[in-house]
């Protein structure tokens, strides 16, 4: 069967999975190091605030080794090819919203996120999607900040009208 052949071909070290194994190891070391450097002084109970973190650090250590072996044997599922640019658009949109939220206010920041996401899914024309997004976010802001008393940051646009 062709499926089996493909699987035979795949059975070689999976580099991305090896990176995951390394990351898990790093997490394990960070938890252990952080617990060791802050944990002193509270040792009056045998099972104190440091016990659980150590257990989890050890578990991450074990999972890292296990992942390493599965990665080496190529046991991870096959992955579809991914396009990078949609990811960059969405991440960019989220980053823009994060950075602009305080200064530009909810509507403008979120409108940019809206347009960037639409772009990631193939709806181009930013000059059209940005205004749509801002208007939509502004309506949402009115409903939730004014109607439901949610604390959504206001910017120039919100101050202009309220």
């Amino acid at each position: 069967m062709s499926l089996d052949n493909q699987q035979q071909e795949r059975r070689r070290p999976d580099r991305a999975a090896l990176v995951i194994a390394a990351l898990l190891m790093v997490v394990s070391l960070i938890i252990a190091w952080s617990t060791a450097s802050h944990g002193a002084g509270a040792n009056y109970a045998r099972v104190g605030p440091t016990t659980f973190p150590y257990v989890i650090a050890v578990a991450f250590f074990g999972l890292s080794i296990w992942t390493f072996f599965e990665a080496w044997r190529g046991d991870f599922p096959e992955r579809e090819k991914q396009e990078i640019s949609p990811i960059l658009w969405i991440v960019g949109g989220l980053a823009a919203q994060m950075l602009l939220l305080k200064t530009a206010g909810f509507s403008i920041a979120t409108g940019l996120l809206f347009a960037a996401t639409a772009r990631a899914f193939g709806r181009g024309a930013l000059w059209k999607t940005i205004p749509i997004g801002i208007v939509l976010a502004f309506v949402v802001w009115i409903i939730f900040a004014k109607g439901l008393q949610l604390s959504l940051p206001a910017g120039p646009l919100e101050h202009l009208l309220f």
Partner: protein
């Protein structure tokens, strides 16, 4: 008071106009998110958590439960008409339901799914009302050691027992447990893993993590893979079932309920398992097995009933033990905690009105859902025609709204972005999502119980295996990890892989 008396009192609470309104909002939202691919009940409840801070606890919880039930109904519509399950528990429905729709029998398929869900929801909710007091009585005798064992069992079944890899399930669980460590230790007040960042002292917000993993991660993953287009099957012919349809459906409904409810009630993971079991049972019992794979109505009726029955079943451990076994239940638990309520045996004693009102409201919600999903099914179908760019732009708008509403800080949005990338990575490499959320919420509770148990025994770890109940629970937990490993090693892993779908 007996169960009927309590349930009747609960019904009075549930029938208050405000609570009816909350239930209606809940089931409508739930159906909508169930229908829309890409968002599920877990994400919706997470998004609503910050919005409901200032609302009435009973009403909010009734709304959350309505969303949960509604999601189960709505998912079947998407499965049948689009062949893309709206949520994971409807995967099986797509097998036969979409074939029926292609053969021009979409109407009866939707009808049997809706009526089956109604029947199952009704029976299972009554089942919940009767089982809950018994479990509560049992749970009152549980000490910290038993609770700890119970949580270990829940961890193992949620992460390792099903799905296609024990390793990836466990890794996802420990990511959640690790994130749960961050913040101030509840017993000693010591900061852990906060790295001197004040924003981290309060711990990781459940809303932020859930929204990031489910909404941002999903959007990234769908955008990056650009899946093939699927076509919506128009509903042709009558929506109503023929006499033959009825006679072929009612037994699968009851069998599906009988399978789904216990599976949901045990701390044994999501609703998917019951649907797969029900499907194979119906296939074996069918009078016309040759129709399976070509649109057999039994294959829609049984799994849909099982799916709703197990949703009701999931509420048994959640309400009686405070133990969430699905991502949605985990976030509902966070909803309880937001109002200062801790689900568990004590809640039945301290706040019976709320608990029984919630249970009774499920009956009301079920009835509403039947009305929403049979005559109004055409409205929901139109939701499926929303183009993906607008759908996901909208999802991200509301996702960030939820996070900003909970905590309007740049740091929180940064975490949203970071966890969103984590969610994308998890999806890309085949890691399940639900164990991360369950780990974050249940991890700190398990640690508390463990430390309480050891404080009682003055540090002697044998207290953990001192009672027969604890031993049995821990043995079950060990089985949940080791048996699948063994089965996979023997090449039987395919069945398990089918059983463990991602909950969204």
């Amino acid at each position: 008071m007996d169960t009927f008396g309590l349930l009747a009192q609960g019904l009075l609470t549930a029938l208050e106009p405000m609570n009816m309104l909350y239930a209606l909002i809940g089931v409508t939202l739930g159906t909508a998110v169930g229908v829309l691919p890409g968002i599920g009940p877990a994400l919706t409840v997470a998004l609503l958590l910050p919005v409901t801070y200032k609302l009435d606890p009973a009403g909010s919880l009734i709304m959350f439960a309505g969303i949960y039930y509604g999601g189960m109904y709505g998912g079947s519509t998407t499965s049948i008409l689009l062949n893309t399950p709206g949520e994971s528990a409807s995967i099986v429905t797509a097998l036969e339901g979409n074939k029926m729709a292609r053969a021009g029998r979409g109407g009866p398929a939707l009808a049997t799914a809706a009526v089956g869900s109604f029947v199952a929801g009704l029976i299972a909710t009554v089942g919940l009302a009767f089982v809950a007091p018994t479990v509560v009585k049992m749970a009152l005798s549980f000490g910290p050691a038993e609770y700890f064992a119970l949580m270990i069992l829940a961890f193992m079944t949620v992460s390792a027992a099903f799905g296609d890899s024990t390793l990836r399930g466990l890794t996802a669980l420990f990511i959640g447990l690790g994130l749960g460590l961050i913040g101030i230790d509840l017993q000693t007040g010591q900061a852990r893993l906060a790295f001197g960042i004040p924003d981290l002292l309060d711990g990781i917000e459940v809303t932020t993590l859930a929204v990031a993993l489910f909404a941002v991660g999903e959007a990234l993953s769908v955008a990056a893979s650009r899946g093939g287009d699927s076509t919506i099957q128009a509903i042709k012919g009558s929506v109503w079932m023929t006499r033959e349809d009825w006679s072929r459906s009612w037994k699968p409904w009851l069998r599906g309920t009988a399978i789904g409810f216990p599976i949901g009630a045990m701390p044994a993971g999501g609703a998917e398992i019951g649907t797969f079991l029900s499907y194979s049972v119906e296939k074996n019992l069918a009078k016309k097995p040759e129709e399976f794979g070509h649109g057999a109505i039994e294959g829609v009726a049984g799994p849909e009933a099982a799916n709703n029955a197990s949703a009701a079943g999931t509420l048994v451990p959640l309400l009686t033990l405070g133990l969430p076994t699905t991502a949605t239940a985990a976030i509902m638990l966070a909803g309880f905690q937001q109002f200062g309520l801790q689900p568990g045996p004590l809640l039945f004693a301290t706040n019976p009105q709320l608990v029984w009102g919630l249970i009774a409201s499920l009956l009301v919600a079920n009835l509403m859902l039947l009305v929403l999903n049979l005559p109004l099914v055409g409205v929901w179908v139109r939701l499926l025609t929303i183009p993906l760019p607008w759908l996901y732009s909208g999802i991200l708008l509301f996702a960030t709204l939820g996070t900003i509403g909970a905590n309007p800080s740049t740091f929180e949005l940064g975490m949203l972005l970071a966890f969103g990338l984590l969610g994308y990575g998890l999806r890309r490499f085949g890691y399940p999502i639900a164990p991360v959320v369950v780990g974050l919420i249940l991890g700190p509770m398990a640690e508390q119980q463990l430390r309480r148990a050891l404080a009682i025994s003055q540090g002697d770890p044998t207290i953990l295996v001192h009672s027969p109940i604890a031993i049995v629970l821990l043995l079950l937990a060990a089985t949940a990890v080791l048996l699948p490993l063994y089965l996979r090693a023997r090449g039987r892993g395919k069945v398990l892989a089918q059983l463990g779908a991602n909950e969204d």
